[in-house]
Symmetry: C2
Subunit: 289 residues, 2 copies
C-alpha cells in the first residue's frame, strides 16, 4: 500500500470496498455499495420480501468480510413502486435489519423514492485497524490459493429452485468471522469475496496483484452443482484468498472447509489456467449481461 498517509483516501475504485482513513482515528473505515433491481437481481414471484431484504444486506456484509473488517453501520436507499404494500416493506426491512443487527451494523439512514420497479442500494461501513485491510492486490508468486465453503450452490439453486442450493441462493452467509480470522492471524496475502463466479473473480485478483494463477483438481462442489456452476456461477459469497507458503491455513474454520485450489505464479500470458488449460472469465459481467 506504499507509505501510510495520516488521513484521507487509502484505496479507491477497484477493491471489494473503498478505504478511508479519518484523521487521528484508530481504525480505517471501509465502504461498499450494492444495488439490487427487481427483474435483474430478483423476481417478486419467486423471492419473498424478507429474502430480498436479507440478501441486499448479505451482499454488502460479504464485501466487509472480504476486507477482513468488522461492520460498523449501514445506509439504505430504497425505491418502491406505487403498488408496493406496507406488509411487503415491513418484511423487507425485517430481513435486512435482522441480519444487519446480528452483525453489529445498525441502519443509520438513507433515502426513499418512488420508481417504476423496486430497487435498493445498501451501503455498509466497516472498521479495520489502520493499514490492515486485506486487499485483492496482495498476492505474490508462490502463494497458495484457497476458497471457503462449497462453490456453485447459488447458481444451482437459481436453476433448480430446490433444496439446499435454493436456500444458498436466497440466504448466502457473509463470512465475517473468517475474514477477521484471516486478518488477525495474518494468514492471507490477498482476499476478496466470490460474487461473480470463481473464474471471473480470480481474474480480477490476479489482475489487481499483477500475477497469474494455476488451479488444479476440482474446486469444492456444492451438492447438485454442475462443473460450470462451480467454476463460473455467481453469488456464492464465499471467500477467495491467497496465503504465503509458510502460513498455516487450517483445513476448516468454524465448521467451514478451507480448500486449497491452486497456486499463484509470476505474471504470464495466460492469467488463469485450470488443470493446464486456460480458464476464461465466464462468470457474471455487469456490462455484458
Amino acid at each position: 500500500m506504499g507509505p501510510v498517509p495520516a488521513g484521507g483516501v487509502i484505496v479507491a475504485i477497484g477493491d471489494d470496498c473503498a478505504v478511508y482513513r479519518p484523521q487521528g482515528a484508530k481504525e480505517d473505515l471501509v465502504f461498499t455499495t450494492d444495488m439490487m433491481h427487481e427483474g435483474v437481481h430478483f423476481l417478486m414471484e419467486t423471492h419473498s420480501a424478507r429474502d430480498i431484504g436479507y440478501k441486499a444486506m448479505a451482499r454488502g456484509l460479504s464485501d466487509i468480510a472480504a476486507m477482513g473488517a468488522e461492520p460498523r453501520f449501514a445506509l439504505l436507499s430504497l425505491s418502491l413502486t406505487a403498488k408496493t404494500d406496507a406488509k411487503w416493506v415491513e418484511e423487507f426491512y425485517k430481513g435486512l435489519l435482522d441480519l444487519a443487527l446480528a452483525h453489529g451494523a445498525p441502519l443509520l439512514g438513507g433515502d426513499t423514492a418512488k420508481a417504476s420497479a423496486m430497487s435498493c442500494d445498501v451501503i455498509v461501513c466497516g472498521g479495520v485497524p489502520r493499514g490492515k485491510a486485506l486487499l485483492r492486490s496482495g498476492a505474490v508468486p508462490g502463494d497458495r490459493i484457497f476458497v471457503s465453503g462449497l462453490l456453485g450452490g447459488s447458481a444451482a439453486g437459481l436453476r433448480t429452485k430446490k433444496a439446499d442450493a435454493w436456500k444458498r441462493h436466497l440466504r448466502p452467509k457473509p463470512r465475517l468471522n473468517l475474514g477477521q480470522f484471516l486478518r488477525q492471524k495474518r494468514l492471507a496475502s490477498a482476499l476478496m469475496d466470490l460474487s461473480d463466479g470463481l473464474s471471473t473473480d480470480l481474474h480480477r485478483m490476479v489482475n489487481a496483484s499483477g500475477v497469474s494463477a494455476e488451479l488444479d483438481g476440482l474446486p469444492p462442489l456444492f451438492p447438485g452443482a454442475t462443473l460450470d456452476e462451480v467454476l463460473h456461477g455467481g453469488e456464492d459469497y464465499e471467500l477467495l484468498f491467497t496465503a504465503p507458503r509458510r502460513a498455516k491455513v487450517p483445513a476448516e474454520f468454524e465448521g467451514l472447509p478451507l480448500t486449497r485450489i491452486g497456486s499463484i505464479l509470476k505474471h504470464g500470458k495466460v492469467p488463469v489456467t485450470w488443470n493446464g488449460a486456460p480458464l476464461p472469465a465466464l462468470g457474471w459481467d455487469h456490462f455484458t449481461k
Copy 2:
C-alpha cells in the same frame, strides 16, 4: 445531543445526514444518500447527461452543507440500460465529477448494474468537528428563521423550461460555504436544506425541534416564481436555518441574501402559520407523489 459518546452512531435516521463518530478521530463523519430515477427525477428528453450527473452530486453536497460540514469523499451506484451509450455515461461522469472535485469530494467507489431504466444513488461523506454538526432539532422558541437565496426558482424552471429558473432547476448550487460559515460563527441553532419545499421542510424542522413556527411577509421570490412555488416548490437547495435572537446574521453572505422570514414559537396546535393562517405542508412527499 446529550452526553457525547467516545465513538459510534451519533445521529441516525431523520436529519439531512447521519452522523458517525470514528473512535479517536478529530471529526465526526456525516453521510447522506440520494437517489435519482429516470422518469421520476429527470427525463432523458429534457435533461442532458452532464446536467443529470451534476444534479445527482449537487443534491448530496447540499445535505453536507445542511450539517455545516465539509465534503470528504463520495460513492456512486449507477444503473444503466442496455441502450445507454458510452458518450452519455462519459458526460454523466463529467457533470458529477467536476462538481465533486470542485468541492473536495473524490469518488472512491460504488457499484454498477444494468436495469430497465437509468438510476443512480450518490453517497457523500462529510467531516465536521466533533459534536458540531448542525441538526434540524436545535430550534428553540424566540429563535428567528432565515433562508438563503431566492425560493421557487427550481419549480418555476420545471414549469417554464426557461431562463434562469430552468438553470436553477438543472444546476442548483450546494451552499457549502454558507453552511460552514454558520457553524464556524455559531450563528445557527438549527439547519437543513430546502429539498422538498419550504412548507414541508419547515414542518420537518419544527417537528424535530418540538416547536412551532410563524412566517410573516413574503419569502424571497425567485424571478418568475409563483407564490405556490415559493411556499411549496421543491429542489431549491437553499439553506433554512434558525438563529438565536442575539446572533448577528449578516444580510448577505458571498453575495447570497440571507432573509429573515419568521420566528420560532413554543410548540402549539398549529405547527406552522403564515401571516396568521395555518400553512400546510404541501411540498414534495416521497410517499404520496
